[in-house]
């Protein structure tokens, strides 16, 4: 990070094994025997149709829900053994949406990312402020640091929430559809940022509906369908016409990215009209 030394070089692996979870009063499991690991320096994208269990999977990995079967470990320690602050120092989460009844400024909100670093009576110090400013700069929200969240556009608000997660300085980052509501430029910038974080050694887990960006930026993909892992591996292996058509129940073609640059050849999904080409 610019200007601020990382707090530690702890790079744990977050691993979920055979995770199953059924919501109360639901007939079918939201997540059924899914295993995955979020490794340092790797970007894992989870894709799949609405209701496939992606968000439930994130909640299981983050400790917000406890799996009914299987377990989540952080470097071989059970996630449930960690205290709340200890967990927040290891895993930062950007959930899908949130609302606040009380207006706060962007700087105040990003500053909340420092909670786990401070004791109840401890005042935030120079390093905390530097981390907050740096996180705001990286997410391009520094220019409206003193504006209230309610005065911002959806995309700006979303970037402020990502900045808050970065201010946590956790080695594992989980994001639930972070590009929802962002325009083309900020979608690209967000994935560039995720790739930078991955290069800096973070383990990144991102849920997205953008198959094409996932194919270009992720190291590995997990395709979920009705709570089960349907395919996993490199983008080229997961994004096949057969499995995507089966999962999304829609005709489509997968074509190579025309390039230029390192994206050349990445599988890009093009949905067709239902009445044929």
């Amino acid at each position: 990070m610019r200007g601020t030394a990382p707090a530690r070089e702890w790079r744990p692996v977050l691993e979920g094994r055979d995770l199953s979870f059924t919501h109360p009063r639901a007939d079918e499991a939201a997540v059924c025997r899914v295993s995955l690991s979020v490794s340092p320096g790797r970007l894992l994208a989870v894709v799949g149709p609405n209701g496939a269990g992606k968000t439930t999977l994130l909640k299981l990995l983050s400790g917000s829900l406890t799996p009914q079967e299987g377990g989540v470990t952080l470097d071989d320690r059970a996630l449930s053994d960690l205290g709340d602050r200890e967990r927040a120092l290891a895993i930062a989460v950007v959930p899908q949406s949130e609302s606040s009844p009380f207006p706060v400024t962007v700087r105040e909100m990003v500053g909340m990312g420092r909670y786990a670093h401070l004791g109840p009576w401890e005042r935030s110090g120079g390093r905390d402020r530097a981390v907050v400013e740096d996180a705001m700069a990286r997410c391009a929200v520094a220019e409206f640091a003193d504006r209230h969240l309610g005065e911002l556009s959806g995309g700006e608000r979303q970037r402020a929430r990502i900045a808050r997660a970065l201010a946590q300085e956790a080695p594992v980052l989980l994001l639930d559809e972070p590009t929802a509501g962002l325009d083309l430029r900020y979608r690209m910038e967000l994935f560039h940022l995720l790739r930078q974080l991955r290069a800096a050694g973070l383990g990144v887990f991102v849920i997205t509906h953008d198959l094409n960006l996932a194919a270009r930026f992720a190291d590995r993909l997990l395709l979920l369908d009705r709570g089960r892992g349907r395919a996993r591996g490199a983008p080229e292996a997961v994004l096949s016409r057969e499995s995507l058509e089966a999962v999304y129940e829609w005709p489509l073609r997968v074509v190579p990215h025309p390039g230029p640059g390192s994206d050349t050849g990445a599988p890009q999904t093009v949905p067709l009209r239902r009445d044929g080409p």
Partner: protein, 331 residues
């Protein structure tokens, strides 16, 4: 955050001025000049005794009750994520009123006046325990704030019915003193009750103030607060218990004084934003100053009689609140 010490110091000055004002005026006709003579050690024994035994304990009680209500209003707003929550939203005032009215109506209050705050305190604790028990049974393992509000409202309504029942059985004299108590009234102030209230408030206030940053997180929602490292269930339970205890103590000492806990945190929010590290202590100090002034007015307008303090806070509070809303809307 950098403004915090300066803003709190400013409020502390306002509180000192409010104490001076409150002590300087009263039914006995002693004025600011007498206060000055007292401070320089030249006052006669009557002046000394009026100031030390009547006006100072009353000012201290008004200050503590006002501060507690401001702080607890702010706490309930953070806990319930609702800017319109106030200290009595969860039925504590109803429980206290039932306890106090029972003491008055049964005639115990006439013979043993110190039983009234005790009855109020016991009633408030009973209400608090009942609301918490219902909320925890209805949402096992987690304290759902919506369930908490609903059970508070329902139990509060039950207590109101119980008060009406008790009052309908009361004679005229008991009726009048019960109503007077329910409208909020600090005339019973002495050093013993004030000291007791201070003792009860200190641990509660410290507990709530230590949660300031957790309250900031809670305002983004419980899920987000959890991801940022807050122990959400523990924070909510601590906040509920500490604030309810403080409200119970304040109601027992001063009756049901409305609007302080609603208006004061709102005014601070509109002026200085929603960071609870400033908001909580500022709400305490502003509540202190507000109730001191309201009580001074209550003692003066119909002197030598006095108005219930709760009437003054309501009459002053409503227009003030409307003005704040209009100002907030224009921004």
């Amino acid at each position: 955050m950098t403004h915090t010490p300066r803003r709190l110091a400013l409020l502390a000055l306002v509180v000192v001025a409010a104490v001076a004002l409150s002590v300087s005026f009263g039914a006995s006709g002693l004025g600011p000049a007498d206060l000055w003579r007292f401070l320089s050690g030249e006052a006669d024994p009557t002046t000394r005794s009026i100031l030390l035994q009547l006006r100072l304990p009353r000012a201290a009680l008004a200050a503590l009750v006002g501060g507690a209500l401001g702080l607890c209003g702010c706490t309930f707003q953070a806990l319930l994520r609702n800017p319109l929550a106030e200290p009595y939203v969860l039925g504590v005032s109803g429980g206290a009123a039932v306890g106090a009215v029972a003491v008055v109506v049964t005639g115990i209050g006439l013979r043993l006046p110190w039983m009234l705050p005790l009855g109020a305190f016991a009633g408030a604790l009973a209400a608090m325990a009942l609301v918490l028990a219902v909320a925890r049974r209805a949402s096992p393992g987690r304290m759902d704030t919506r369930v908490l509000i609903l059970s508070g409202v329902i139990i509060g309504a039950f207590f109101n019915a119980a008060i009406l029942l008790l009052l309908s059985l009361a004679d005229v004299e008991s009726f009048r003193s019960a109503i007077f108590w329910m409208m909020g009234n600090l005339s019973g102030a002495d050093w013993a009750s004030t000291g007791l209230l201070a003792l009860l408030l200190v641990p509660g206030a410290l507990a709530v103030l230590s949660l300031a940053r957790a309250f900031n997180l809670l305002s983004c929602g419980e899920e987000v607060a959890f991801y940022l490292g807050a122990s959400v269930q523990r924070v909510k339970l601590t906040a509920y218990l500490a604030a309810s205890l403080m409200v119970a103590a304040a109601v027992a000492a001063g009756g049901v004084i409305g609007f302080v806990g609603l208006i004061v945190p709102h005014a601070v929010r509109l002026a200085w934003g929603n960071d609870h590290r400033l908001l909580l202590p500022a709400s305490f100090l502003a509540g202190t100053a507000f109730l001191l002034l309201a009580d001074t007015v209550a003692r003066l307008v119909v002197a030598p009689a006095e108005l219930p303090t709760g009437v003054v806070t309501a009459v002053a509070g409503v227009p003030f609140f409307v003005a704040l809303l209009l100002r907030g809307g224009r921004r």
